[in-house]
């Protein structure tokens, strides 16, 4: 079926990074630095139970024994973990009971970012207007969660994780750290010790979540790291689609974002997790920008469960993450769709891990990397088939597109098969935008930049199609904006 597409003129986006503003708001900060007292402080601020503080302490003590990993491709400036704030919260007199009590400056910020926190009436009959429930995280804390009432009717729990600790301790205690243990890796361990907020989702048995759930992360405060923790549990036969977006102001210093996302998928359940990552990428000379070192992992615990990761990575100075699936249940399915765009001096080392443990498990990896300017990008992925994963099936496709002769694009797949009935296929290509394609577009009146955006969007199409509609439009625009200045 033919579709018509309108290409938004790129000059609409006057600034390369339009989310670079800073919100001037009163903030409560913990003292700078990292030690046991800070962790106690965070835990006390959140009124956490004893077991969680203990868990944080175990993580912190373990973290002290760990070395920062150095096998990754991107080089980044050493991070001084003592020169950062681990807790920054917009000052609010008391926990707001409704949006009316939230500081209007905060609401304005989210408005500027295009995130509607006010629940809008869903217009009957308008296609696609199902509404999106949003949890907005500002620096270290969640400021608002919308549509809670609607969700509660179905038994869906969608709230800040700190609230879940208080109200659903049995669920949090059972699943927190069950997919990404506190000993997992340097940054996940750090997160386990100091995580401040994040979203918690529980979808009860047999429920199809009536709307998209979304978390919007915003780093605002200077010298803070953001360490949010997301935990999504899809009980048997349930379904949820979850979106994550993020931005940060333009600053000259690098800021660390070390989040952990854990997905638990029980029998017949499905979780679709989409990310549009647009952290501040630094300027054209590589000054500033976010270090996005995130651990994302999902466990398909039950038979016939499914986890699908979709990511559009356009921001951050350095992106270093591998959203992964552990396919434990028989017939479980893991998917990874990724578009990563690096321009100027951005670096990315991203990919996925598909660990096949159950019988007849399937995984599919589609990765599209676009490298421009002096950027450097690596796809790194692991497909492992365990001895018991009879009938496992994997298909991997990694395509890289290079724009300009100063950038780099690398592919490092690891394939480990321990079962003779498994079928694993991997394909990768590297190419550039051909002069013919550009000529064709120019001849039809498109400018160089419009032509590149069009061609790149075509190159990424397979992945973009996986995004929920609410995000697809934004993501397509982002592709164009991220590549501004890469040609001509």
């Amino acid at each position: 079926m033919a579709k018509t597409e309108t290409l938004d003129p790129l000059d609409q986006a006057t600034d390369q990074y339009k989310y670079g503003f800073v919100t001037d708001i009163d903030v409560e900060l913990a003292p700078k630095g990292l030690n046991e007292d800070i962790i106690k402080f965070i835990s006390a601020k959140k009124n956490e139970p004893e077991w969680l503080l203990e868990w944080r302490m175990k993580a912190y003590r373990h973290w002290l024994t760990m070395d920062e990993p150095n096998w990754q491709k991107p080089a980044y400036d050493a991070i001084n973990y003592q020169d950062s704030y681990y807790y920054a919260a917009p000052k609010m007199a008391e926990k707001p009971k409704s949006l009316d009590e939230v500081d209007p400056i905060l609401l304005e910020t989210y408005e500027k970012l295009g995130i509607p926190l006010r629940e809008q009436e869903v217009l009957a009959g308008v296609e696609g207007a199902v509404g999106v429930a949003v949890d907005a995280v500002f620096d270290s804390v969640s400021v608002a969660t919308t549509f809670k009432a609607t969700l509660e009717k179905q038994g869906v729990i969608f709230c800040p994780i700190s609230e879940a600790v208080a109200e659903h301790p049995e669920l949090v205690r059972k699943y927190l750290g069950s997919v990404v243990p506190y000993t997992d890796n340097f940054f996940a361990t750090l997160n386990s010790a100091v995580f401040t907020d994040g979203s918690f989702v529980y979808i009860p048995k047999g429920v199809r979540c009536p709307m998209e759930l979304s978390t919007y992360f915003r780093i605002n405060q200077e010298n803070t790291g953001q360490f949010e923790r997301t935990l999504i549990i899809a009980d048997e036969g349930s379904y949820v689609s979850y979106l994550e977006g993020c931005t940060a102001p333009q600053r000259d210093e690098h800021q660390l974002h070390a989040a952990v996302v854990e997905l638990v998928c029980l029998g017949d359940a499905e979780v679709k997790y989409s990310t549009v990552q647009n952290w501040y990428p630094g300027d054209a000379e590589g000054k500033g920008g976010i270090y996005n070192f995130v651990t994302k992992r999902g466990a398909c615990r039950g038979d016939y469960s499914k986890i699908s990761w979709t990511q559009v990575e356009t921001g951050s100075a350095v992106t270093w993450k591998y959203p992964s699936c552990i396919l434990q249940g028989d017939h479980s399915v893991g998917e990874f769709y990724s578009v990563a765009i690096t321009n100027n001096l951005q670096q990315a080392d991203t990919g996925t891990k598909m660990i096949h443990l159950g019988r007849n498990t399937k995984s599919r990896i589609i990765s599209k990397g676009i490298s421009a300017g002096r950027a450097d990008q690596t796809y790194r992925g692991l497909v492992r088939v365990g001895p018991k994963a009879s009938g496992a099936r994997n298909y991997t496709q990694c395509d890289s597109l290079l724009i300009g002769d100063e950038c780099g694009a690398h592919t490092i797949p690891y394939i480990e098969t321990a079962n003779d009935t498994a079928l694993v296929e991997h394909e990768a290509t590297t190419s550039k935008i051909s002069e013919d394609q550009l000529f064709y577009c120019r001849q039809r009146g498109l400018s160089d930049e419009e032509a590149v955006a069009l061609i790149v969007n075509g190159f990424c199409r397979e992945v973009m199609q996986e995004l929920p509609m609410e995000f697809a439009v934004e993501a397509q625009k982002l592709v164009g904006i991220s590549l501004e200045g890469s040609v001509g």
Binding site: P387, D405, T417, T421, E427, A428
Partner: protein, 442 residues
């Protein structure tokens, strides 16, 4: 353990050589020895050795292999193959070699003889490629350098003969370090067959290093057959430099040894052409590793890697391929393909096909697959009245044939098919390897 502990107290700067050789050689050995002692044997946390574990090798004591008990003659099938240089435990054995009738323009000689008589022939080449901290086993070889084979082809010479280098290994816990140096002059053309095999089934350790220089516009076809003893360890590295428009066609068959690795490190000049095809056939508890690194440093070069393996019993297969395109190496065409066939529930395969690209006007790709024999293909054959075992042999044979067909030298293709056929016969009771050169099939 230190190098001395692992490789015997007689480890000396002179190796086990009876001749000192020129002064630069002593220096080369000394530097290499220091380098090996600094790094030791590579561990699995070294990325390049992620899938091959040398812990067992390092845990044993090895004696320098003795070269005194060479057999008096070679088996007929190997003896009858034309010009041949034979090494026994890394040492040149003239009575097992046949160097009469060598074509004009070709020189094939023992390394120790060359060092003693004409060191200036090789002083610009020996030890110039197999260097670098990433290659501890090459350093170990260089530290022990004393004998091996030297092949020099004069510029422009077209050698019609197939030249053979045979390496025999013998002795339990014996370690030897054969060294091969090939200098193919500008515009020449030659085919070299390198054959590694045992005298008896002993647990020896052969650590071989080849340095191969291919001149401008020269063409070298290099076929390596690894049929070491099933309890032996075979670690080999070929360091290759291709000048502009030079062409290297390599083929590696790995069939023997309990633990084996063949590593290629090639650096390509402008418009050079490097094609490597490889097959490995693993059974029992064999571990067979094929590692290929190709560096495109100048524009317009082409590289191909095509590796296929068949694994049964508890055999482990490893393929690591890396194509690096350096800045400025535009118009590069680099392709990799790895396919593994797993025939038993306990066979294992690991692959890391890697691309590292710093230029935009390139065509690079790779593919990797692993899986069992296709049930559809089996059904097709069975439906035509072919019994299951025969069908299986036929399909495995056809699978391996795809890489053998890439060998240019026809007699070598035939010889390799025979080797694959014998392996298949042992496995399935059928020799159904396919000969695409056979008129019946054409």
């Amino acid at each position: 353990m230190t190098a001395n502990e692992i490789f015997g107290a007689t480890f000396s700067p002179r190796g086990s050589s009876t001749v000192d050789g020129p002064p630069w050689l002593a220096n080369l050995r000394q530097c290499a020895r220091e380098q090996f002692e600094a790094t030791g044997l590579p561990r699995r946390k070294v990325e390049n050795w992620r899938y091959t574990d040398l812990t067992d090798l390092g845990a044993q004591a090895w004696e320098p292999a003795q070269a005194t008990s060479a057999p008096s003659e070679l088996s007929a099938e190997i003896a009858g193959t034309g010009p041949r240089l034979t090494l026994f435990n890394g040492r040149f054995v003239p009575q097992l070699s046949n160097l009469d009738g060598l074509s004009d323009g070709a020189r094939l000689m023992g390394l120790a003889d060359c060092l003693a008589a004409e060191p200036t022939l090789i002083d610009r080449h020996l030890g110039k490629l197999a260097v670098g901290e990433a290659m501890p086993l090459a350093a170990l070889n260089t530290a022990w350098i004393d004998d091996g084979a030297v092949l020099i082809i004069a510029p422009g010479a077209k050698i019609d003969q197939r030249l053979h280098i045979v390496s025999l290994g013998d002795g339990d816990r014996a370690a030897f370090h054969p060294r091969l140096l090939v200098v193919a002059g500008d515009g020449c053309s030659v085919t070299l067959v390198e054959h590694h095999l045992p005298v008896q089934d002993h647990a020896y350790f052969s650590n071989s290093v080849a340095e191969i220089f291919v001149g401008s516009g020269a063409r070298l076809e290099h076929i390596k057959i690894q049929e070491e003893a099933m309890s032996a360890t075979h670690l080999a590295a070929a360091h290759i430099r291709l000048d502009d428009e030079g062409s290297y066609e390599g083929f590696i068959l790995q069939k023997g040894a309990r633990l084996a690795r063949h590593e290629i490190a090639a650096e390509l000049g402008a418009a050079a052409d490097c094609r490597v095809a490889a097959a490995y056939l693993g059974n029992g508890d064999q571990h067979l590793d094929t590692t290929i690194r190709i560096e495109h440093v100048r524009p317009g070069a082409t590289s191909r890697q095509h590796v296929r393996g068949v694994l049964t019993d508890q055999a482990r297969g490893v393929f690591q391929g890396k194509t690096t395109v350096h800045k400025g190496a535009q118009q590069t065409d680099g392709q990799q393909m790895s396919r593994a066939l797993l025939l038993s529930p306990e066979a294992r395969f690991s692959a890391k096909p890697e691309l590292e690209i710093y230029a935009d006007d390139v065509k690079c790709g790779h593919g990797a697959t692993t899986g069992a024999l296709s049930e559809d293909a089996m059904f097709y054959l069975e439906a035509r009245g072919i019994d299951r075992e025969t069908a299986r042999a036929l399909l495995i044979g056809a699978f391996v044939e795809e890489v053998i067909a890439e060998i240019s030298d026809a007699p070598s293709r035939t010889a390799l098919r025979a080797l694959v056929g014998k392996w298949l016969f042992d496995l399935t009771g059928h020799d159904w390897s396919i000969d695409l050169d056979d008129g019946d099939l054409a």
